[in-house]
């Protein structure tokens, strides 16, 4: 049977992709950020998962505002990034795993989550930056297979934090009911606090992010007390992306162990966070 090993929460700021491309990991601006990934590289090297489910949002590459699915799942044999108008260079394609994609889609819809299935899907920096962060030395023939799970956190209304946590739980059930022996990890990306638009641009909130990280392993319901509007006030309109970390957390079930955590302000305009949670039961 397939098994979920653990989950990782990580920011996905495009500037990180530029820093990787320019090899700035040891630069004083970047070092405190990249150092937070060392325990994750070691854990991934030890566990060697077969599949990564990557929860992210598209920022206007694959989905325009003409059609905006709340929850979309990739079911393609491979995923490519592309010109977003600026920034990152196109990368080698990421191999998918359609049999598990369709199992997830079937299981989730049966579980009453209405999913948009995508047999073609471009992936933007929200997807590629976490991939480059987790697997910096990706070797095309040996690389992990991916399943993109794209969430609307661009055009309000977004799914609620509660809905995200429940979607994660349903993803966890779906993975663990898949018959093939596969080791799976799930990534929840985006956040933490940041604000790109309005006079308050540049806003971050260390106290709020710290409490979020503190509660994520053992009390993820803490975030559910806030509406997305309240989260926009507390974490910035783009900081609401942290609800995607709840999908990761929900998938892991009740018992997890926090193995590492890092928090650093600033990466570009963002308070960057990373956390590694291992499923313990």
């Amino acid at each position: 049977m397939a098994k979920l090993l653990g989950g990782i929460g990580s920011s996905h700021v495009p500037a990180i992709g530029n820093a990787i491309e320019q090899n700035l990991q040891q630069d004083p601006y970047w070092k405190p950020f990249f150092n937070g990934y060392e325990p994750i590289w070691e854990w991934l090297e030890e566990k060697k998962p077969d599949v990564a489910i990557l929860v992210y949002n598209d920022h206007g590459l694959n989905f325009f505002l003409d059609k905006m699915p709340t929850f979309a799942i990739g079911a393609a044999a491979e995923y490519q990034n592309s010109d977003e108008g600026w920034g990152l260079k196109p990368l080698e394609p990421f191999p998918g795993y359609p049999p598990l994609s369709w199992h997830l889609i079937n299981s989730l819809v049966n579980d009453e989550f209405d999913i948009t299935s995508c047999q073609e899907m471009l992936v933007d920096h929200g997807f590629t930056v976490p991939m480059s962060l987790m697997w910096p030395d990706r070797i095309p023939t040996e690389q992990i297979k991916v399943i993109p799970v794209c969430i609307n956190v661009v055009q309000s209304p977004f799914p609620t934090a509660n809905r995200c946590l429940r979607l994660g739980e349903a993803i966890g059930r779906a993975v663990e009911s898949y018959e093939e022996d596969l080791d799976v990890v799930i990534l929840g990306t985006g956040g933490l606090s940041h604000q790109l638009d309005g006079e308050r641009a540049g806003f971050t909130n260390r106290a709020f992010d710290t409490e979020f990280l503190e509660k994520l392993a053992n009390e993820p319901e803490w975030l559910l007390q806030y509406s997305n509007h309240q989260l926009a006030e507390l974490a910035g309109p783009q900081g609401v992306e942290m609800i995607m970390w709840l999908i990761m957390r929900g998938a892991l079930g009740e018992n997890v162990k926090e193995l590492s955590r890092n928090y650093h302000i600033p990466i570009s305009n963002t308070a960057a966070g990373v956390i590694l949670l291992e499923k313990t039961a």
């Binding site: 206007g60 010109d83 055009q155 309000s156 006079e199 540049g202 509007h229």
Partner: protein, 118 residues
Amino acid sequence: MTQSPKDKPIPGTMIFDGDMAMKGYALNKMCFSFNSAINRDAFKADEDTYCDQYGITDAQRAAVKARDVLELLKLGGNIYYLAKLTGMFGLNMQDIGAQQSGVSLDDFKAKLLAAGEQ
């Protein structure tokens, strides 16, 4: 209204909801086209003709000309799409963050670094 009536406005913050998405649809659609290098070149060659093709309003066109991000947001622009527009003029997220908050780029960066030292 797609926002709940009980939601209080957040100072210095605009929520990109259904009302804004309708208002800015043509503008955002034009910005979405800038994912393609050919379209970026066409815009740079003749901004007015390019704006005409997308049915951009006069107010939006003036704000595009002025590279005025706050005004473009008020007119329905979404920040991720506007970033594709401003990127063509060499302005990144930090440049437009400084512009919107009314400070120099150095002051904007210093504010973020200071938040890291709290």
